[in-house]
């Protein structure tokens, strides 16, 4: 038993770190250091750089461009990339639709979509949640009626992250409203976002930003060959997708980066006549977060290393621990970064200040983004299966209650 990275794993980490340091575009790094979310062009550019290196389709088999990494290597890469901070691989492409097509797709679907997904030539989004189907996903109502070699899709999806950037959307639709069980009448479709009848309406979230959307489908024609797997078996595909590759779910690199940002800010602001970083209460808060991050990092090692030895391919229910604890940390670390900003946590003025002074005010920008991050990451315990759903999973799958 040994918790330390092996010399090979350490060498791999150093290689990843060096590659990111040497290849991440400077303006992307600087914006992200200030706490900005990557822009579409930042994410696209970075994923293409990684793809050229063979490091984009990290969990895919080699024949589809995967690097052939172990689960531990993937975990190291994800954490280093988050902590850099660099734009994360687009999860819709890499951890969702890619593995789904590799597992369930036709040869035509694979060769058409996989290389483009890896290179982010197509930006995918996820059409799962509906106004009446959140945690209870199987309650979805968006209908697809077969007409010849097409489905006609009607309905709406909600909380669709980045739909406004997306070229394609994978959508769960109801193809048999009369199935004995709700789960048995669902199909999984690939929908071109340029298809007539699709309307994307922005939802501005509490951080004032536009990440989320509503997507309306009004007599949208989808060719039958865009269905993945059998008709009415889409629930199997969705379950696979939701359980697949949860290595990055803890997002520890992001939490680490937020603590580093808070410490950095705390060196330059004063509290009781001294730098905030010297304040005992601030320091204890940092330590508590570091302790919790350490525990989660080891728990993640354990889950990942146990998963690598399992052969049934089913997700470890303990990955729910990673989701709950990881998002709690993400929230606690963004909270620390915001609190560090003090009164600067409140205003939305960085742009105005920059225009007035004709140069950016980095402190104001970082503070504004710290609050923005805090606000948006309240969603972390809601998306990807709410933390309450994760506790239901633990209760049933692990505790057998």
């Amino acid at each position: 038993m040994d918790l330390r990275l092996t010399p090979e794993e350490r060498a791999f980490r150093d290689e990843v770190r060096a590659f990111i340091r040497d290849n991440l575009p400077t303006d992307t790094r600087e914006r992200m250091r200030l706490g900005y979310s990557p822009r579409k062009q930042d994410t696209v550019a970075w994923q293409r750089i990684l793809n050229k290196k063979g490091w984009a389709a990290i969990s895919w088999p080699k024949e589809w461009g995967g690097p052939g990494w172990s689960a531990v290597q993937r975990m190291i890469f994800i954490e280093e990339n988050q902590a850099a901070p660099a734009p994360e691989l687009l999860s819709f492409n890499i951890t969702m639709i890619g593995p789904v097509l590799i597992q369930f797709g036709t040869e035509a679907q694979k060769s058409r979509f996989l290389p483009r997904a890896a290179n982010l030539d197509d930006w995918w989004c996820q059409g799962f949640s509906e106004p009446g189907a959140g945690s209870d996903l199987a309650a979805l109502k968006t209908a697809a009626k077969r007409e010849g070699d097409h489905y006609i899709v009607n309905g709406s999806k909600i909380w669709t992250s980045t739909a406004h950037n997306a070229d394609w959307c994978f959508v769960l639709v109801r193809t048999n409203p009369n199935a004995a069980k709700r789960q048995e009448g669902i199909s999984f479709l690939l929908v071109d976002m340029k298809t007539p009848g699709i309307t994307v309406r922005p939802i501005v979230s509490i951080d004032g930003a536009h990440h989320l959307n509503e997507v309306f489908f009004d007599d949208v024609k989808v060719p039958v060959e865009m269905r993945v797997y059998e008709e009415n078996r889409g629930w199997d595909v969705a379950k696979f997708l939701l359980g697949n590759e949860r290595t990055g779910i803890a997002r520890l690199g992001k939490s680490r980066e937020r603590v580093a940002a808070a410490k950095e800010a705390a060196r330059s602001v004063r509290f009781n006549g001294r730098p905030l970083i010297e304040d005992a209460a601030f320091r204890q808060r940092v330590v508590q977060l570091e302790v919790d991050m350490k525990a989660l990092q080891i728990t993640q090692y354990r889950v990942v290393s146990a998963g690598a030895k399992k052969s049934d391919g089913r997700p470890d229910p303990l990955s729910s621990v990673l989701k709950v604890k990881g998002t709690e940390l993400l929230q606690a670390t963004t909270e620390l970064a915001m609190d560090t900003a003090g009164p600067l946590a409140m205003p939305i003025w960085a742009q105005e200040l920059a225009e007035m002074a004709n140069e950016p005010d980095m402190l104001a920008e970082a503070a504004e983004q710290a609050t923005g991050n805090y606000l948006f990451l309240r969603a972390a315990s809601i998306y990807g299966g709410t933390n309450e759903i994760q506790k239901n999973i633990l209760s049933k799958a692990v505790l057998r209650l």
């Binding site: 038993m1 330390r4 092996t6 940092v286 350490k294 080891i298 604890k325 506790k391």
Partner: protein, 376 residues
């Protein structure tokens, strides 16, 4: 990274599990508590037979040559059984001090005797006014007639009442809080001028207050005045061992509570069918797993050569498993309801073991403050 146990380690864990399952039920334990010493001499003999008492010692000293992970496996089982014997005091702490700082002759005289079950030690370091500060030693050691004479008092010495020999820290020079100037001395429990008063801790394990008045110490471990490093390492090993014990205790509290929630019916159904109870049990599970990770960190840091890195990891671990154990044990009583409050029911005993572990060798506040001082 590697979480696998070796075949030997699996064998070790299995044999301890079997021994404790056969002989250390909660009812049997009640009998052990009532013995004069507060623990079972018979079990001590069985530990010796299994090789547990020499586990971390070299083979030439009748030991097993085991590492911190082996100790972790044993302590985890002791945590499940709430073992009362002076294993931590004798093998990990006292034996650890001899192993780390003793001369070849001292090791040869003491370690085999421990391994055979014939000698029990205690680590008499902490003092009433020191709280958790390892450098705060007021007991003095003065040279006299080629030996040393000790004066002072030691407080909450784990299993100090049944030890045959004590490893006593005392200041040979320097100010009260100075890490430099502390020595470690081997003192016979029956030495003239040594008085001890034994008592039970909250968890029914034993400890003692020890006073030293002109006590002649036959031997010193290592160089006079240079023992602080050894003391820190002994305490770190003790923390790691207690982390594993806490995991065993948490596992048992978790499984007892789970079982109770399946069988206890209220309003015509098991209480475990209520979502609020299920989520609480899930939270206990998460805390247990996070605590387990931290206990592993502690075990695997004990032999880390970089002292600062080692101290940091051990402090992080102590905070982590301490908080986890506090949460799990509080929830265990809450979900049991009234029965969890009773002396006759086991869960409250695990609760109190967790409490004692948390307050030994630095509580959460102490380790938080210690790490906070190092934030850069």
């Amino acid at each position: 990274m590697d979480f696998d146990l070796s075949d030997d380690q699996r064998l070790l864990a299995d044999s301890v599990t079997r021994l404790m399952a056969d002989r250390y039920g909660f009812e049997a334990r009640k009998g052990f508590v009532k013995q004069d010493t507060g623990w079972s001499a018979e079990m001590w003999g069985r530990y010796a037979e299994l090789g547990l008492l020499g586990l971390p010692f070299a083979e030439e000293h009748g030991g097993f040559g085991g590492g911190p992970v082996d100790v972790m496996l044993v302590m985890q089982e002791f945590g499940r059984a709430l073992a009362l014997e002076p294993y931590l005091a004798t093998v990990v702490l006292g034996g650890g001090a001899v192993r780390l700082a003793g001369s070849a002759a001292q090791q040869a005289a003491i370690l085999p005797a421990i391994a055979e079950g014939g000698l029990k030690l205690a680590f008499a370091h902490s003092e009433r006014e020191a709280r958790y500060d390892l450098a705060d030693v007021q007991t003095t050691a003065k040279r006299a007639n080629g030996g040393w004479v000790l004066d002072g008092a030691k407080s909450v010495v784990l299993h100090g009442d049944s030890a045959d020999k004590l490893v006593v820290s005392a200041r040979v020079k320097g100010e009260r809080d100075d890490p430099d100037g502390i020595g470690l001395f081997l003192v016979d429990a029956g030495a003239e001028g040594l008085a001890r008063r034994g008592y039970a801790l909250r968890d029914e394990t034993r400890a003692a207050e020890i006073s030293l008045t002109n006590v002649v110490a036959a031997e010193i471990l290592g160089e006079p005045g240079a023992a602080f490093g050894t003391i820190a390492r002994v305490v770190e090993a003790g923390i790691a061992a207690m982390g594993a014990e806490a995991v065993g205790a948490m596992e048992t509290m978790q499984s007892m509570t789970l079982e109770y929630s399946r069988t206890r019916e209220q309003f015509g159904k098991p209480i475990g069918t209520n979502q609020v109870v299920q989520h609480r049990l899930s939270e206990m599970l998460m805390a247990l797993e996070q605590g387990r990770s931290m206990a592993m960190l502690a075990a695997m840091s004990v032999d880390e050569p970089d002292a600062a890195e080692r101290a940091r990891a051990i402090s992080m671990a102590k905070i982590g498993f301490g908080q986890a154990a506090r949460f799990v044990s509080q929830q265990a009583i809450q979900l049991h309801g009234g029965i969890g409050m009773t002396e006759e029911y086991a869960v409250g005993h695990y609760f109190r073991r967790a409490l004692v572990i948390e307050h030994t060798f630095g509580d959460t506040a102490y380790h938080l403050a210690r790490l906070a001082a190092e934030v850069e």
